[in-house]
C-alpha cells in the first residue's frame, strides 16, 4: 500500500470504493424490515433506545441481536444470552476462513478492518468481485465502500425502530428481500458441479436441521453440504481420470 501513493493509484482506489458503494446500495431495501424489528426488540429487552443503537453499531449482526434481545426479554442470565447470540454468529468463522486467502498481503490493521465489517452481504459482494477477477485492484477500498454503505444504514434502521417503534405492514413482505438477495448473489457464484451439489445438500440439511436451537443446524448443514460437494468432486475426478477425458 505504501509503494503506490501516486495520483493514479488514489483515483483507482476511489473508483474501487465507489464500486463497492454502488454494489451494496442495491442491498439496502433488505435491511429495512429486519433493522426496524431489531431496534424495537432492543428497547423491549431493556437496553434503552441508545443501548439498542449501540448494539446494532457494535455487533452489526441482525440475527444475533434478535437472539440476544429475545433471551434478555425472557429474563435469561446474561452469560447465556451473550453466548447464545455468539453461537448464531459462528457462521462468520466460515466467512473469515474463506476470505483469509483473498487478503494474503494485508497488514494487521487492515485485517482488523476486514474483520470488523464481515457480514453475509459484505462477504458475498467481495467473493463476487473476486470471481469477476477484479479483486487485485484495491480490494480493501471496494470492501470499505460496501461496508460504509451497509453499516450506517443498518444502524439508522435500528435507531428508527428503537426511537419510533416503526414497523412496516407485513403484507409488503419486505423481509422476503433477505432470502431473495442471497439467492441473487449466490446463484451466479455456482461454477462447479461440486458447488451445485454442496448447495443442494446444504439447503436440504438446512431445512431438516432448522428446528435445532440457536441456528446450530446451520453449521451442521454447512459441514454436510461441504462433504457432499467434496464427494461429488472426487467421484467426477476419478471418472475423468479413468476415461481419460477432461471435464
Amino acid at each position: 500500500m505504501t509503494a503506490g501513493r501516486s495520483a493514479a493509484n488514489r483515483a483507482a482506489s476511489r473508483a474501487a470504493f465507489r464500486a463497492g458503494v454502488l454494489e451494496c446500495l442495491t442491498l439496502i431495501p433488505s435491511y429495512v424490515p429486519f433493522g426496524l424489528v431489531c431496534g424495537v426488540a432492543g428497547v423491549q429487552a431493556g437496553l434503552g433506545e441508545w443501548g439498542a443503537v449501540a448494539l446494532s453499531a457494535f455487533a452489526f449482526a441482525g440475527s444475533s441481536q434478535a437472539v440476544l434481545t429475545q433471551f434478555l426479554s425472557g429474563g435469561a442470565p446474561l452469560m447465556i444470552a451473550v453466548l447464545s447470540g455468539l453461537v448464531v454468529n459462528l457462521r462468520m468463522a466460515v466467512y473469515s476462513a474463506a476470505i483469509s486467502p483473498r487478503i494474503a498481503g494485508a497488514t494487521r490493521k487492515e485485517r482488523m478492518l476486514w474483520a470488523a465489517f464481515l457480514v453475509d452481504q459484505t462477504f458475498i459482494s467481495n467473493e463476487t468481485r473476486h470471481l469477476r477477477g477484479q479483486h487485485m485492484d484495491h480490494p480493501l477500498a471496494f470492501y470499505l465502500g460496501c461496508a460504509f454503505t451497509l453499516w450506517p444504514w443498518w444502524v439508522l434502521m435500528n435507531a428508527i425502530g428503537a426511537f419510533a417503534g416503526a414497523k412496516l405492514p407485513t403484507s409488503w413482505q419486505l423481509d422476503f428481500t433477505i432470502p431473495l438477495s442471497f439467492v441473487a448473489m449466490v446463484v451466479p457464484l455456482l461454477k462447479s458441479r461440486g458447488q451445485i451439489f454442496a448447495a443442494i445438500a446444504g439447503g436440504v440439511a438446512g431445512v431438516l436441521l432448522y428446528a435445532m436451537p440457536l441456528k446450530t443446524g446451520l453449521i451442521g448443514a454447512c459441514v454436510f453440504g461441504t462433504c457432499v460437494g467434496m464427494l461429488v468432486d472426487t467421484m467426477l475426478a476419478k471418472r475423468a481420470a479413468s476415461s481419460g477425458t477432461a471435464l
Partner: protein, 113 residues
C-alpha cells in the same frame, strides 16, 4: 421529544459481550491464517462451504412458514425465489433480480387473492 434512555448495566454488559465475541469470531481465521498458505484441500473445502452455508441459510426462509413446511402458503415464495435465481444466473445484477422476484411474489399473491 423522546431523547432516549440508556437501559440497564446488565444490558450494556450484554452489548459489550456480544460485540467483542462477534469481533473475535470474525477475526479468528483472518488473524490466525495471516499470510499463511492454506492446504489446497482446505481451500477446496471452503469453496464448497460457501454455497452450502448460504443454501442452508436461505432455503428454510423460502420454504418454511412458522418453522413448518407449508406448500399451500409458501408456493408463491418458492416460485419467486426460483424466478430470481434463474434471472440472476442468466443475467446477474442484484437490483433487477430483486425487483423481478418481489414483483413475481406480489403478482402471484394478488392473483390468488
Amino acid at each position: 421529544m423522546n431523547w432516549g434512555g440508556f437501559g440497564t448495566v446488565d444490558g450494556w454488559l450484554a452489548i459489550i459481550g456480544l460485540a467483542i465475541g462477534t469481533f473475535a469470531i470474525r477475526y479468528s481465521f483472518i488473524g490466525l491464517l495471516a499470510g499463511k498458505k492454506l492446504p489446497p484441500r482446505f481451500e477446496r473445502a471452503l469453496q464448497l462451504a460457501v454455497p452450502a452455508i448460504f443454501a442452508a441459510l436461505v432455503v428454510p426462509l423460502i420454504l418454511l412458514h412458522a418453522g413448518e413446511f407449508n406448500l399451500q402458503l409458501r408456493w408463491p415464495h418458492i416460485v419467486a425465489a426460483l424466478v430470481t435465481g434463474v434471472y440472476a444466473w442468466w443475467r446477474g445484477g442484484m437490483l433487477i433480480s430483486l425487483v423481478i422476484g418481489m414483483a413475481t411474489l406480489h403478482g402471484l399473491l394478488w392473483f390468488v387473492g
